[in-house]
Symmetry: C2
Subunit: 395 residues, 2 copies
């Protein structure tokens, strides 16, 4: 049911294309792990960007500028599902450090400099996870090669990137199978969190809700490791949905509502989730959710979920950010851009990139200076608590 024929899927769709294909041509340099830090703060910035008086942690960045070799490896892997003779080994992927550098220096790192971001919490391309393709063994190998590239980037640019891992989820497979890769990424590779897909089917939603005990072994390990998960679906395999336009946003809304109706955080008081894309539809309908919880005789949302759930700022216009900051406590908001991500253009209404979300936070008349500092860095340090263990300390 969830094979290659199920609608559009990475790597063929427009959501999943490399964004900077010109960069893919750089190759062949000798591998080197010498760190090349890009100091964002203190560098000159594009004219007109408002100043910040502290560090800026972008908690939601994806490696969407992968070298072509990675995409080719994935193509062979997908071909190998039906023709095992084509299945590549994890070790067969060859990408040089220079290729990795070239893939980010004109893209994520340039934008970090231009926009004044100190560090990006960085994970594999979200739509690329495509857990609906193949079985758990396919997801395991694909997660491993994807996470290993993130790790190498965190080693090449230890002040610019903190790693977050893709999990080897697969439809119908209990999430216990993700524990090994999570432990490897956190304890061996120094990652600070994971991305958790509430719907590995890509839009058919046949897994148990996130509040089902099906997921508990993974949560136990997250708590033990003290790492949060960003709730993030992947490419839509169901043609009803547009990956970045509706499937992502619906995934966020669905997950929040599952949490609201549950007692999950009684069982896991320290479990932490980030709901990206500004929390989907949730803040816009905050009155609806407060009212539904009240009708269900549940405590106020501040007690019920806001000790455990956080929203990012991937909302691409000032009115949306203003709504978010009006209704959600500042301590529950983490700065993020989702770049290079869903929207690439320049907003003709502002003359700036839609995803230059820092401007909306800087431009907020709702947040106090202290709250802006918390949104820009303090909250991310608290939620991604293992950031403190990384080379840059507490950016």
């Amino acid at each position: 049911m969830f094979g290659l024929s199920s609608g559009h899927a990475f790597p063929g769709c427009s959501c999943c294309r490399p964004l900077f294909s010109g960069l893919d041509a750089v190759a062949g340099s000798p591998r080197s792990m010498t760190p090349t830090n890009i100091e964002a703060l203190g560098e000159s910035r594009r004219a007109g960007v408002p100043k910040s008086d502290g560090p800026v942690i972008d908690c939601h960045g994806h490696y969407t500028t992968e070298p072509q070799e990675l995409l080719d490896w994935r193509k062979r892997q997908i071909a190998g599902i039906n023709d095992p003779s084509q299945m590549p080994s994890v070790d067969s992927l060859r990408i040089s450090d220079d290729q990795l550098r070239a893939s980010v220096e004109g893209a994520q790192l340039r934008l970090q400099r231009e926009r004044g971001t100190s560090v990006t919490i960085f994970s594999p391309r979200a739509s690329g996870m495509s857990h609906h393709i193949g079985d758990a063994s396919v997801s395991a190998a694909w997660s491993r090669v994807s996470n290993d590239l993130i790790y190498r980037l965190t080693q090449l640019y230890p002040k610019n990137f903190a790693g977050v891992c893709q999990l080897p989820q697969s439809p119908g497979t209990a999430p216990d199978n993700c524990i090994g890769e999570l432990v490897r990424c956190v304890t061996e590779l120094g990652f600070v969190g994971c991305n958790l897909n509430p719907d590995p089917t890509g839009g058919y939603w046949t897994e148990p809700p996130l509040t089902d005990r099906w997921w508990y072994p993974l949560y136990e390990k997250m708590v033990e490791l003290d790492v949060p998960a960003m709730i993030h679906v992947s490419a839509a395999a169901n043609r009803a949905f547009h990956t970045t336009g509706s499937h992502y946003i619906n995934g966020d809304t669905t997950a929040f509502m599952q949490f609201l109706m549950s007692d999950l955080f009684k069982d896991f008081p320290t479990l932490r989730f980030i709901i990206p894309h500004g929390g989907g539809a949730i803040p816009y309908h905050w009155g609806r959710y407060r009212g539904i919880a009240q009708d269900q005789k549940k405590p106020p949302l501040s007690e019920l979920v806001l000790k455990n759930i956080f929203f990012d700022t991937c909302v691409y216009h000032q009115p949306g950010i203003d709504l978010l900051t009006r209704v959600i406590p500042a301590e529950n908001i983490l700065f993020a851009s989702e770049m290079l991500g869903a929207v690439k253009g320049i907003d003709p209404e502002t003359g700036h990139n839609y995803d230059d979300t820092r401007r909306y936070i800087e431009g907020s008349t709702i947040l106090t200076p202290d709250e802006k500092r918390a949104v820009f860095a303090g909250n991310a340090r608290r939620v991604y608590s293992r950031m403190a263990t990384l080379p840059f300390g507490n950016p």
Copy 2:
């Protein structure tokens, strides 16, 4: 796949319970079609409700206070799917006019008076449609009895209710099958529109997108009859979703994104859709959608969709309504409350019912007085153009 075992479904779930069960007991009076109009404007209102200087059309009301006889009929119908001997006929439903009056006078009509609503565009309970139950013949009979009750209410209270019909959709059945019931309701019963379910499966989303030619025959008839459709999913049969908390909102977001990616309105320039619940997540992420359209080289959303798509005001807090009115042109916003609907309680932050949405419009500092009049009535008259044919003329 979409039978009774598919998760929770009307009439067992909490979303689907009668709200005023005490009213169901009134029965046995002789049937009478004598109209009993309740004049909302000019009557005394609850203290503290701001004044309006014109009529108020609520474009989104559901008959959620149905007499028990209707729910019992539906139970027998569901039982009849597996045991044809129990299948009731359409004609076997017996509900008196007094029962109908009792079902709305202490509920919808009382709230119309208290909140100063002139007329409600009224349709069967949305979650009750449950198109995933049974086959097209089951949906046909259920739609007919449900719509007939709405008709009788419009005859009993011709100044208070305008009818909108449920369609006999069924998973996998081409929507051509809905044309007969649509024509009957509009031409024989005087209805002004229909509710269209983009996902008759109740959360598995296996139908073609709303922009597929699968739906075109129905659209042709809508255009010919000059009636709009409110896009409205029904009860969630998929346990991943909460009916009113995520499935409804996701349905709205999904439909809009389908429209955005299509050329549907080139084929049907006069086709009109209302996306309820404030447009799902759309206004909150308006920058995202403007940016996605731009990346796709499409015209601005004002040209691409806003001649054909309208949003209601079922957003249950002032910040949400303020966001809606900041980003969506006033001419695309129709007043609605969704009562008696998803949220029944009183907001402790305001002391008023969450779904008393008129207060948020009255309280808006963004809309001008002219725009408020358009939101309250003028836009509904334009979109539901057949309102002008009803006994109350143009409220």
